[in-house]
Amino acid sequence: MYQDKWILVTGSSRGVGKLISEHLLRNGASVVGFARGEASIEHPKYFHMQIDIGDIQSIKGGFSRIRKLTNKLDVLVNNAAIATSQYVMIASAGAIQEMLNVNLLGTFLVSGEAAKLMYKNHHGRIINIGSMMSKLQPAGGAVYAACKAALNTFSIILAKELASYKVTSNTLAISALHTDMANQLSSEVLHQTISTLTFPRFAEPDDIFNVLDFFASERSSYITGQTIYLGGVS
Protein backbone atom coordinates (compact mmCIF):
# COMPACT_ATOMS: atom_id res chain seq x y z
CA MET A 1 0.00 0.00 0.00
CA TYR A 2 2.98 2.34 0.29
CA GLN A 3 4.37 1.99 -3.23
CA ASP A 4 5.63 5.39 -4.49
CA LYS A 5 5.05 6.94 -1.07
CA TRP A 6 7.69 9.03 0.67
CA ILE A 7 7.47 8.75 4.43
CA LEU A 8 9.46 10.43 7.17
CA VAL A 9 9.79 8.59 10.46
CA THR A 10 11.42 10.31 13.41
CA GLY A 11 13.27 8.18 15.92
CA SER A 12 13.76 5.49 13.31
CA SER A 13 16.87 3.84 14.64
CA ARG A 14 15.28 1.76 17.38
CA GLY A 15 12.12 0.71 19.17
CA VAL A 16 8.74 1.53 17.67
CA GLY A 17 10.27 3.85 15.06
CA LYS A 18 12.47 1.09 13.72
CA LEU A 19 9.58 -1.39 13.64
CA ILE A 20 7.41 1.13 11.80
CA SER A 21 10.15 1.99 9.32
CA GLU A 22 10.74 -1.69 8.54
CA HIS A 23 7.00 -2.24 8.10
CA LEU A 24 6.77 0.68 5.67
CA LEU A 25 9.79 -0.52 3.71
CA ARG A 26 8.37 -4.05 3.49
CA ASN A 27 5.27 -2.51 1.95
CA GLY A 28 7.03 -0.51 -0.72
CA ALA A 29 7.59 2.93 0.81
CA SER A 30 10.68 5.08 0.54
CA VAL A 31 11.50 5.98 4.10
CA VAL A 32 13.55 8.86 5.42
CA GLY A 33 14.61 8.23 8.99
CA PHE A 34 15.55 10.99 11.42
CA ALA A 35 17.48 9.83 14.46
CA ARG A 36 20.30 11.08 16.63
CA GLY A 37 22.12 7.79 16.29
CA GLU A 38 23.51 5.97 13.31
CA ALA A 39 21.38 3.95 10.93
CA SER A 40 20.23 0.56 12.14
CA ILE A 41 18.32 -0.28 8.96
CA GLU A 42 19.88 -1.26 5.68
CA HIS A 43 17.53 -1.08 2.74
CA PRO A 44 17.87 0.49 -0.73
CA LYS A 45 14.84 2.71 -0.06
CA TYR A 46 15.84 3.76 3.44
CA PHE A 47 17.56 7.14 3.77
CA HIS A 48 18.98 7.74 7.19
CA MET A 49 19.75 11.22 8.47
CA GLN A 50 21.40 11.94 11.78
CA ILE A 51 19.19 14.72 13.09
CA ASP A 52 18.67 16.14 16.53
CA ILE A 53 14.97 16.95 16.48
CA GLY A 54 15.33 19.24 19.46
CA ASP A 55 17.40 21.57 17.23
CA ILE A 56 15.66 23.61 14.52
CA GLN A 57 18.84 24.08 12.47
CA SER A 58 19.42 20.34 12.45
CA ILE A 59 15.80 19.81 11.35
CA LYS A 60 16.04 22.42 8.60
CA GLY A 61 19.21 20.74 7.36
CA GLY A 62 17.36 17.43 7.26
CA PHE A 63 14.50 18.87 5.25
CA SER A 64 16.90 20.51 2.87
CA ARG A 65 18.35 17.04 2.20
CA ILE A 66 14.86 15.58 1.84
CA ARG A 67 14.06 18.18 -0.83
CA LYS A 68 17.05 16.94 -2.80
CA LEU A 69 15.62 13.40 -2.69
CA THR A 70 11.99 14.20 -3.42
CA ASN A 71 9.58 17.06 -3.92
CA LYS A 72 6.83 15.41 -1.90
CA LEU A 73 6.20 13.93 1.49
CA ASP A 74 3.17 11.68 1.80
CA VAL A 75 3.32 10.70 5.44
CA LEU A 76 5.09 11.95 8.54
CA VAL A 77 5.30 9.64 11.54
CA ASN A 78 6.16 11.69 14.61
CA ASN A 79 7.58 8.92 16.71
CA ALA A 80 10.76 10.21 18.33
CA ALA A 81 10.38 10.43 22.07
CA ILE A 82 12.23 9.75 25.24
CA ALA A 83 10.69 8.49 28.44
CA THR A 84 12.12 8.69 31.88
CA SER A 85 10.07 7.57 34.80
CA GLN A 86 10.53 10.15 37.53
CA TYR A 87 8.46 11.22 40.46
CA VAL A 88 7.85 14.96 40.41
CA MET A 89 9.56 15.74 43.70
CA ILE A 90 12.82 14.19 42.57
CA ALA A 91 12.71 14.85 38.84
CA SER A 92 15.77 16.66 37.52
CA ALA A 93 15.33 19.81 35.46
CA GLY A 94 17.73 18.42 32.86
CA ALA A 95 15.72 15.25 32.31
CA ILE A 96 12.47 17.23 32.10
CA GLN A 97 13.95 19.68 29.61
CA GLU A 98 15.29 16.87 27.45
CA MET A 99 11.89 15.20 27.33
CA LEU A 100 10.18 18.48 26.47
CA ASN A 101 12.71 19.17 23.71
CA VAL A 102 12.39 15.82 22.00
CA ASN A 103 8.79 14.87 22.78
CA LEU A 104 7.20 18.26 22.15
CA LEU A 105 9.45 20.90 20.64
CA GLY A 106 10.93 18.45 18.15
CA THR A 107 7.53 17.18 17.12
CA PHE A 108 6.21 20.71 16.65
CA LEU A 109 9.19 21.75 14.55
CA VAL A 110 9.29 18.64 12.37
CA SER A 111 5.54 18.88 11.76
CA GLY A 112 5.87 22.50 10.66
CA GLU A 113 8.60 21.70 8.15
CA ALA A 114 6.76 18.59 6.92
CA ALA A 115 3.56 20.56 6.46
CA LYS A 116 5.44 22.96 4.19
CA LEU A 117 6.22 20.01 1.93
CA MET A 118 2.70 18.60 2.08
CA TYR A 119 0.45 21.60 1.65
CA LYS A 120 1.42 22.42 -1.90
CA ASN A 121 0.52 18.92 -3.02
CA HIS A 122 -2.79 19.11 -1.16
CA HIS A 123 -2.06 15.75 0.34
CA GLY A 124 -0.47 14.44 3.48
CA ARG A 125 -0.90 12.31 6.54
CA ILE A 126 0.67 13.27 9.84
CA ILE A 127 0.59 10.44 12.35
CA ASN A 128 1.67 11.22 15.87
CA ILE A 129 2.71 8.36 18.08
CA GLY A 130 1.02 9.00 21.39
CA SER A 131 0.77 6.86 24.45
CA MET A 132 -1.70 5.22 26.79
CA MET A 133 0.12 7.21 29.47
CA SER A 134 -1.67 10.42 28.49
CA LYS A 135 -4.96 8.93 29.59
CA LEU A 136 -3.90 6.53 32.32
CA GLN A 137 -1.71 9.15 33.99
CA PRO A 138 0.31 6.86 36.24
CA ALA A 139 2.31 8.14 39.20
CA GLY A 140 5.93 8.41 38.13
CA GLY A 141 5.05 9.31 34.56
CA ALA A 142 4.16 12.98 34.93
CA VAL A 143 6.44 14.53 32.33
CA TYR A 144 6.10 11.83 29.72
CA ALA A 145 2.31 11.64 30.14
CA ALA A 146 2.02 15.43 30.05
CA CYS A 147 4.05 15.53 26.83
CA LYS A 148 1.82 12.91 25.24
CA ALA A 149 -1.34 14.71 26.38
CA ALA A 150 0.03 17.88 24.83
CA LEU A 151 0.72 15.92 21.66
CA ASN A 152 -2.95 14.89 21.47
CA THR A 153 -4.00 18.53 21.65
CA PHE A 154 -1.30 19.60 19.21
CA SER A 155 -2.53 17.00 16.74
CA ILE A 156 -6.11 18.26 16.90
CA ILE A 157 -5.07 21.88 16.30
CA LEU A 158 -2.70 20.86 13.52
CA ALA A 159 -5.60 18.98 11.91
CA LYS A 160 -7.62 22.21 11.89
CA GLU A 161 -4.77 24.31 10.51
CA LEU A 162 -4.02 21.88 7.70
CA ALA A 163 -7.53 20.75 6.79
CA SER A 164 -7.86 23.17 3.90
CA TYR A 165 -4.73 21.64 2.38
CA LYS A 166 -6.21 18.13 2.68
CA VAL A 167 -3.51 17.14 5.14
CA THR A 168 -4.74 15.05 8.07
CA SER A 169 -3.26 14.78 11.55
CA ASN A 170 -4.10 11.93 13.90
CA THR A 171 -2.64 10.28 16.96
CA LEU A 172 -1.96 6.61 17.46
CA ALA A 173 -1.71 6.21 21.21
CA ILE A 174 0.13 2.99 21.78
CA SER A 175 0.29 0.82 24.82
CA ALA A 176 3.66 -0.55 25.83
CA LEU A 177 5.49 -3.08 23.77
CA HIS A 178 8.81 -4.68 24.51
CA THR A 179 11.26 -1.99 23.38
CA ASP A 180 14.25 -0.10 24.75
CA MET A 181 11.97 2.75 25.75
CA ALA A 182 9.63 0.56 27.76
CA ASN A 183 12.69 -0.73 29.53
CA GLN A 184 13.55 2.83 30.59
CA LEU A 185 10.33 3.06 32.60
CA SER A 186 10.23 1.35 35.95
CA SER A 187 8.74 -2.10 35.60
CA GLU A 188 6.46 -1.33 38.55
CA VAL A 189 4.93 1.65 36.74
CA LEU A 190 4.74 -0.25 33.47
CA HIS A 191 3.06 -3.38 34.81
CA GLN A 192 0.63 -1.41 36.97
CA THR A 193 -0.30 0.66 33.95
CA ILE A 194 -0.77 -2.30 31.64
CA SER A 195 -2.93 -4.06 34.20
CA THR A 196 -5.47 -1.24 33.87
CA LEU A 197 -5.95 -1.78 30.12
CA THR A 198 -9.10 -3.47 28.89
CA PHE A 199 -6.73 -5.91 27.21
CA PRO A 200 -4.06 -6.10 29.90
CA ARG A 201 -1.13 -7.16 27.77
CA PHE A 202 1.81 -5.65 25.93
CA ALA A 203 1.09 -4.53 22.37
CA GLU A 204 2.35 -6.52 19.41
CA PRO A 205 3.94 -4.71 16.45
CA ASP A 206 0.99 -5.61 14.22
CA ASP A 207 -1.39 -3.85 16.62
CA ILE A 208 0.50 -0.67 15.80
CA PHE A 209 0.81 -1.33 12.05
CA ASN A 210 -2.94 -1.90 11.81
CA VAL A 211 -3.85 1.61 13.00
CA LEU A 212 -0.87 3.21 11.31
CA ASP A 213 -2.00 1.80 7.96
CA PHE A 214 -5.53 3.01 8.64
CA PHE A 215 -4.46 6.59 9.31
CA ALA A 216 -2.05 6.56 6.36
CA SER A 217 -4.58 5.13 3.92
CA GLU A 218 -5.88 7.19 1.00
CA ARG A 219 -9.35 6.20 2.18
CA SER A 220 -8.78 8.00 5.50
CA SER A 221 -8.93 11.46 3.97
CA TYR A 222 -12.01 12.21 6.12
CA ILE A 223 -10.37 11.09 9.37
CA THR A 224 -8.51 13.86 11.16
CA GLY A 225 -7.92 15.20 14.66
CA GLN A 226 -8.56 11.75 16.13
CA THR A 227 -6.74 9.70 18.72
CA ILE A 228 -6.96 5.92 18.77
CA TYR A 229 -5.79 4.17 21.92
CA LEU A 230 -4.54 0.63 21.68
CA GLY A 231 -5.46 -1.89 24.33
CA GLY A 232 -8.79 -0.39 25.30
CA VAL A 233 -7.71 2.62 27.33
CA SER A 234 -10.79 4.27 28.74
Binding site: K116, Y119, E161, S164
Partner: protein, 100 residues
Protein backbone atom coordinates in the same frame (compact mmCIF):
# COMPACT_ATOMS: atom_id res chain seq x y z
CA UNK B 1 21.01 40.66 -5.42
CA UNK B 2 17.33 40.52 -6.28
CA UNK B 3 15.73 43.67 -7.61
CA UNK B 4 12.54 45.22 -6.30
CA UNK B 5 10.55 43.94 -9.26
CA UNK B 6 11.85 40.39 -8.67
CA UNK B 7 10.68 40.48 -5.05
CA UNK B 8 7.35 41.95 -6.12
CA UNK B 9 6.98 39.13 -8.60
CA UNK B 10 7.58 36.52 -5.90
CA UNK B 11 4.92 38.10 -3.71
CA UNK B 12 2.53 38.30 -6.67
CA UNK B 13 3.07 34.60 -7.35
CA UNK B 14 2.22 33.78 -3.74
CA UNK B 15 -0.97 35.82 -3.98
CA UNK B 16 -1.86 34.20 -7.30
CA UNK B 17 -1.47 30.78 -5.67
CA UNK B 18 -3.96 31.85 -3.03
CA UNK B 19 -6.30 33.06 -5.77
CA UNK B 20 -6.05 29.66 -7.44
CA UNK B 21 -7.69 28.18 -4.36
CA UNK B 22 -10.43 30.80 -4.14
CA UNK B 23 -13.72 31.26 -5.82
CA UNK B 24 -13.11 33.67 -8.76
CA UNK B 25 -15.44 36.29 -7.27
CA UNK B 26 -13.39 36.22 -4.06
CA UNK B 27 -10.07 36.66 -5.83
CA UNK B 28 -7.76 39.25 -4.35
CA UNK B 29 -6.26 42.04 -6.37
CA UNK B 30 -2.61 41.48 -7.16
CA UNK B 31 -0.69 44.73 -7.31
CA UNK B 32 1.82 46.74 -5.26
CA UNK B 33 -0.85 48.58 -3.32
CA UNK B 34 -2.75 45.47 -2.28
CA UNK B 35 -3.42 45.63 1.47
CA UNK B 36 -2.32 42.26 2.73
CA UNK B 37 -3.12 42.00 6.42
CA UNK B 38 -4.66 44.19 9.07
CA UNK B 39 -7.17 46.91 8.41
CA UNK B 40 -8.64 46.40 4.91
CA UNK B 41 -6.32 43.42 4.46
CA UNK B 42 -7.33 40.79 1.93
CA UNK B 43 -5.71 37.86 3.74
CA UNK B 44 -7.05 36.01 6.73
CA UNK B 45 -4.56 34.49 9.20
CA UNK B 46 -4.29 31.15 7.44
CA UNK B 47 -3.89 32.73 4.00
CA UNK B 48 -1.17 34.96 5.42
CA UNK B 49 0.66 31.89 6.75
CA UNK B 50 0.42 30.23 3.34
CA UNK B 51 1.71 33.37 1.63
CA UNK B 52 4.62 33.68 4.06
CA UNK B 53 5.66 30.05 3.57
CA UNK B 54 5.46 30.44 -0.21
CA UNK B 55 7.42 33.69 -0.20
CA UNK B 56 10.15 32.42 2.14
CA UNK B 57 10.57 29.32 0.04
CA UNK B 58 10.64 31.22 -3.28
CA UNK B 59 13.06 33.82 -1.88
CA UNK B 60 15.39 31.08 -0.74
CA UNK B 61 15.36 29.54 -4.21
CA UNK B 62 15.79 32.83 -6.04
CA UNK B 63 18.44 34.42 -3.83
CA UNK B 64 20.09 31.42 -2.19
CA UNK B 65 19.51 33.24 1.05
CA UNK B 66 17.17 32.01 3.77
CA UNK B 67 14.95 34.71 5.19
CA UNK B 68 12.48 34.55 8.03
CA UNK B 69 9.47 36.83 7.81
CA UNK B 70 8.01 35.92 11.17
CA UNK B 71 10.83 36.28 13.66
CA UNK B 72 11.19 38.94 16.35
CA UNK B 73 12.66 41.40 13.86
CA UNK B 74 9.44 41.39 11.85
CA UNK B 75 7.25 41.57 14.91
CA UNK B 76 9.24 44.47 16.34
CA UNK B 77 8.90 46.70 13.29
CA UNK B 78 7.05 49.90 14.10
CA UNK B 79 4.85 49.33 11.07
CA UNK B 80 3.95 45.77 10.17
CA UNK B 81 5.73 44.56 7.02
CA UNK B 82 2.53 42.81 6.04
CA UNK B 83 0.43 45.93 5.47
CA UNK B 84 0.87 45.97 1.71
CA UNK B 85 2.85 44.29 -1.05
CA UNK B 86 5.02 47.41 -1.17
CA UNK B 87 5.82 47.34 2.54
CA UNK B 88 6.60 43.63 2.43
CA UNK B 89 8.90 44.12 -0.54
CA UNK B 90 10.70 46.92 1.28
CA UNK B 91 11.10 44.75 4.36
CA UNK B 92 12.49 41.84 2.34
CA UNK B 93 14.97 44.20 0.68
CA UNK B 94 16.16 45.26 4.13
CA UNK B 95 16.55 41.62 5.18
CA UNK B 96 18.49 40.70 2.04
CA UNK B 97 20.79 43.69 2.37
CA UNK B 98 21.56 42.78 5.99
CA UNK B 99 20.43 46.20 7.15
CA UNK B 100 18.33 44.59 9.86
Amino acid sequence: MLKTKDINEIIFQALNSINDERDPNEAIGVHEETCLFGENGVLDSLSLVTAIVDIESAMSEASGQDICLTDDKAMNQENSPFRTVQSLTAYIELLLSGAI
